[in-house]
C-alpha cells in the first residue's frame, strides 16, 4: 500500500507519554537536541519538532507532545495531544507511528494511556524508559512477555544514559517499513481524501462513546482497565518487593513537605531567588544599559544631525535597549524556576501552598504561574496550561498581571530613586527597599482579593479540583534547564522587542512633531501631538496628582510599561535620554524642589503602575489563552479601574496627610 501522501512528505512519529516519564530527555537523545519550537495554530501550546534519522538514512518528523495521563484529559495540554493524535489540527497529519514512552518504575499507571492508544487503533512502539532506575530498585522487566501481552514492539531504554536508543531507532524503522497503515491513520487518510481541500473532520475517538456513560460505569471501566494492566504487569515483571523510592530522597521529601519545616524552607528558597534576581542581575544590567547609552551617544555623533539621527539615537536605541536591560533578570528567574521545576521542588511548593491559596479560590498549582509573573506575565499566563480546571485557570490568568513584573521595575526604580531618601530603618533595612517591597506586596494582596471575588461571582459555578502527581525529587539536568532559559529569553526578546520597537518609533514621532512654531516659549514637547494629547487628558488625571507630562508617559506606556521611563526622559528634554536613569532622577528631584512633582504624586504614580494593565503582549496572550475577548477586555478594564481608584485614594489621602 503506497499512499502518495506517505511518500511526498516525511512520515511523522509522535512521542506520547505521561508527564515525568523522561519523554523530553528521549526526544533530545533522538534528535541530538536540534529541534524547533513553535506553537500549534490558534493555541499557545508548544509544538516541539525535530528530525530523526532512521537506519536506512531516511528522515522522519519527530514530535514531542506534551505529557498527558489520558486521552480524555481536561487540561489544554492534554486536549492538544488528543487532537494531534486524531489529526484534527489543521496542518498536522495524524501520526504514522506513536512511540509510547513509559516509566519502568511505574508501569501500571503509565500503561493506562497506552491501553487507550491501543484501543484507538494506533500503530505503537512501546519504549520502556528509566530502566536504570528500575534495575536500581530491583525490578526486572521481561520485555518479551510484555510485548506478547500487549501485542506491541517493546524496547527497554534509559534515555538519560542513552541506553537502548539505537535499538529503539531500529524498531521505529522496521515498524514504519512494514508499510501497513494503522486503522486510525487509514481512516484519517480517507477523510482527508473526501474533504480534499476543505477542513478535514476529526475522526471521533472510540473513547467518545464514554461520554454517554454515567459516573459509575466510567469508574467501573477504569477499574477494569487497571485490573487488566495490573495482571499484565504482574506477569511480565519480576519484583521481589514493591518498588521503593530511595530512602534519602524520601526523607528529604518528608522534610520539604513537613508541616513544621515546609513553609519556612519555601520562604527561604524564594527569598534567595528574589535576592538573586535583584543582586546578581545588577552587574549585567548595568553593563547592558551602559552599552545602550554609549551606542546611543555614539550614534547621535556619528549620524548626520537630522531626523534619522534623532529617530535612531533618541527613539529606537533607548526604546529597545530598555527591554534588553531586563534580560539578565529574566534569565536568572527562569534559571531558578527551571532548576526548581526539574528537581521536583515546585510540586512540593504547590502542595504546601494549596491550602492557603484555596481560601482565595486558587489552587496550589497556580503558584508556579504567579511566581513566573514576577518576571513577566506572558510566561506566567502560558504556564497556566497545566491547570486542568477551567475556572482555576481563568482566575489565575486574570490575576497574573497584578504580580509586579520586571517591566515595572524601572518605573519603581526611577521614582523610588528620586523621591525616597536613602535612609535605613532600624539601622539595617533600606527604606528604598521597603517601599519597593510594599509595591510588590500591594500587587499580591490585590491579586488575592480579585481571585476571591472572581471565584464568588463569575467563576462560582465551575468545578475546581487539585489532583497532582508529585514527581520524584532528583538532581536537575542543567542542560535541559539552560535550554529552557535560552528558549524563554529568545521568545521574550522576540515578543517584546517588536512591540517596544513600534512604540518607541511612535512615541518619538508624537513627541517630536509638529515642531513648535517660531517664537513658541516653553517646553517644545507641549506643542507636539503627544503634548496636545497630554494636555487634553490632564483634567481626568489631575485628581491623581498627575500633570500633562505624566499623562503622556502613561498613555505611551499602555503598550508596554517600561516605555514610561523613556518617554519621561524624552519629554524632560534631557539630551541624554538613553536609559541612564541618573539624569532622569536628578531632573525629577529638581521638579520636586520647584514644586511641580511632589512625593505624593510619585507614590500615587507607583500605585498606578502596580495595578494598571499596560502591556499589549499580556493582553494578546490573555486573548489567545482565554479564547475570549470578554475576559481580555475584562482584564484591561478591571485593572485600569483599580489603578485609577487606588491612585485617586493615594493622592487625595496622601496630600491631606503630608
Amino acid at each position: 500500500m503506497n499512499h502518495p501522501s506517505d511518500t511526498s512528505s516525511p512520515r511523522t512519529v509522535a512521542l506520547v507519554g505521561n508527564p515525568n516519564c523522561g519523554k523530553t530527555t528521549l526526544f533530545n537523545a533522538l534528535t541530538g537536541s536540534s529541534y524547533k519550537v513553535a506553537n500549534y495554530p490558534g493555541v499557545t501550546v508548544e509544538k516541539k519538532e525535530g528530525s530523526l534519522q532512521l537506519r536506512d538514512g531516511t528522515n522522519v518528523r519527530l514530535l514531542d507532545l506534551p505529557g498527558t495521563y489520558a486521552l480524555e484529559g481536561s487540561s489544554i495540554d492534554e486536549r492538544i495531544v488528543t487532537s494531534v493524535l486524531q489529526g484534527s489540527l489543521p496542518g498536522e497529519p495524524c501520526p504514522d507511528l506513536i512511540v509510547a514512552v513509559v516509566d519502568a518504575t511505574n508501569l501500571e499507571r503509565n500503561l493506562f494511556l497506552v491501553s487507550e492508544l491501543i484501543d484507538e487503533g494506533f500503530k505503537i512502539v512501546l519504549a520502556v524508559n528509566m530502566m536504570d532506575a528500575a534495575e536500581h530498585a530491583g525490578l526486572k522487566i521481561y520485555d518479551e512477555l510484555l510485548a506478547r501481552a500487549l501485542d506491541l514492539t517493546v524496547v527497554t531504554i534509559s534515555a538519560r544514559t542513552k541506553r537502548g536508543i539505537d535499538t529503539l531507532v531500529e524498531a521505529v524503522g522496521s515498524e514504519l517499513a512494514r508499510n501497513t497503515l494503522s486503522s486510525r491513520r487509514r481512516a484519517w487518510l480517507a477523510t482527508q481524501k473526501r474533504a480534499s481541500g476543505a477542513e478535514a473532520e476529526p475522526q471521533a475517538l472510540s473513547l467518545d462513546n464514554l461520554k454517554a456513560a454515567n459516573a459509575d460505569q466510567l469508574a467501573e471501566i477504569g477499574s477494569l482497565r487497571y485490573r487488566w494492566l495490573r495482571n499484565i504487569v504482574e506477569r511480565s515483571t519480576g519484583r521481589s518487593a514493591e518498588v521503593r523510592s530511595n530512602t534519602a530522597s524520601a526523607k528529604l521529601d518528608a522534610l520539604l513537605t513537613s508541616r513544621i519545616w515546609g513553609l519556612p524552607i519555601l520562604l527561604l528558597v524564594f527569598g534567595l531567588i528574589f535576592q538573586a534576581i535583584f543582586l546578581w542581575a545588577q552587574a549585567p544590567m548595568d553593563i547592558i544599559s551602559g552599552g545602550v547609552d554609549s551606542l546611543s551617544a555614539w550614534l547621535s555623533g556619528a549620524l548626520p544631525p537630522g531626523m534619522l539621527s534623532s529617530l535612531v539615537a533618541d527613539g529606537i536605541v533607548p526604546g529597545v535597549g530598555n527591554v534588553v536591560v531586563f534580560v539578565p533578570q529574566i534569565a536568572i528567574l527562569f534559571l531558578c524556576i527551571g532548576l526548581l521545576e526539574d528537581s521536583g521542588y515546585l510540586s512540593r511548593a504547590a502542595f504546601l501552598l494549596d491550602n492557603i491559596m484555596r481560601r482565595f479560590g486558587l489552587q496550589g498549582r497556580a503558584f508556579i504561574p504567579l511566581l513566573s509573573s514576577f518576571a513577566c506575565a506572558i510566561p506566567g499566563i502560558l504556564s497556566t496550561r497545566t491547570i486542568p480546571s477551567r475556572s482555576d485557570r481563568l482566575a489565575t490568568i486574570m490575576i497574573a498581571p497584578l504580580m509586579s513584573c520586571s517591566a515595572r521595575l524601572p518605573v519603581y526604580a526611577v521614582l523610588i530613586g528620586a523621591f525616597v531618601p536613602q535612609t535605613l530603618v532600624w539601622g539595617v533595612v533600606s527604606l528604598q527597599g521597603l517601599v519597593l517591597l510594599a509595591m510588590y506586596a500591594l500587587g499580591v494582596i490585590a491579586a488575592c482579593a480579585v481571585a476571591w471575588v472572581l471565584k464568588r461571582t463569575l467563576l462560582r459555578k465551575d468545578p475546581s479540583f487539585f489532583v497532582m502527581e508529585m514527581p520524584p525529587l532528583r538532581r536537575p539536568l542543567l542542560k535541559v534547564v539552560l535550554r529552557g532559559v535560552v528558549d524563554s529569553v529568545v521568545s521574550f526578546l522576540k515578543n517584546a522587542s517588536t512591540v517596544i520597537l513600534a512604540c518607541s518609533v511612535i512615541v518619538w514621532f508624537l513627541a517630536s512633531y509638529p515642531k513648535p512654531t517660531e517664537g513658541f516659549e516653553g517646553n517644545p514637547v507641549q506643542a507636539s501631538y503627544a503634548g496636545q494629547l497630554g494636555t487634553a487628558i490632564e483634567p481626568a488625571i489631575r485628581p491623581l496628582g498627575f500633570n500633562w507630562e505624566i499623562g503622556i508617559g502613561i498613555i505611551s506606556s499602555f503598550p508596554a510599561r517600561e516605555v514610561f521611563v523613556t518617554t519621561l526622559s524624552t519629554i524632560y528634554n534631557i539630551s541624554d535620554d538613553s536609559g541612564d536613569n541618573e539624569g532622569l532622577i536628578k531632573n525629577l528631584q529638581e521638579r520636586r524642589d520647584n514644586g511641580t512633582f511632589s512625593t505624593v504624586t510619585a507614590i500615587s504614580l507607583m500605585v498606578f503602575y502596580v495595578f494598571a494593565c499596560m502591556c499589549m503582549s499580556t493582553l494578546a496572550v490573555a486573548r489567545r489563552e482565554t479564547g475570549s475577548w470578554g475576559w481580555t477586555v475584562g482584564m484591561f478594564v478591571y485593572m485600569t479601574a483599580l489603578a485609577y481608584i487606588a491612585s485617586l485614594i493615594t493622592f487625595q489621602v496622601g496630600s491631606r496627610l503630608l
Binding site: 489520558a70 466510567l218 468545578p463 508529585m470
Partner: protein
C-alpha cells in the same frame, strides 16, 4: 478486549461495612480503594487516569496544614489531592 473479561467479577465485589473515605485515613495507613462516590466528571476522569480506581492499593504518606492536601503513594508514584477530593474516594483500610 482483555480487560473486560478479566474484570467480570469486578470492582463492585469489594465493598464492606468498614468502608471509610480516603480523607479520613491517617498518615502511614494502607488502604484499598473500593469505590469512587459522586465525583464530578472531570475529577472522575482525572482520578481514573491517575489510577485511583476500585482495587488499587494506596498508602497515605503526608498531610498538609489542617489536613489538606493529602499525599498518597500508589503504584510507583505519589499523588497529591485535596481532602475534599479524597472524600469522594471510598477505601477499606488494610
Amino acid at each position: 478486549m482483555g480487560y473486560i473479561q478479566l474484570g467480570l467479577h469486578g470492582a463492585s465485589a469489594v465493598k464492606g461495612s468498614q468502608d471509610k473515605t480516603l480523607s479520613s485515613v491517617r498518615v502511614g495507613q494502607k488502604a484499598v480503594v473500593s469505590a469512587l462516590k459522586s465525583c464530578p466528571k472531570d475529577l472522575l476522569h482525572k482520578l481514573i487516569a491517575m489510577g485511583v480506581v476500585a482495587g488499587s492499593e494506596v498508602t497515605v504518606t503526608q498531610r498538609g496544614f489542617f489536613g489538606s492536601p493529602i499525599n498518597i503513594h500508589l503504584f510507583g508514584s505519589v499523588l497529591s489531592l485535596r481532602s475534599s477530593e479524597a472524600a469522594h474516594v471510598q477505601v477499606q483500610p488494610l
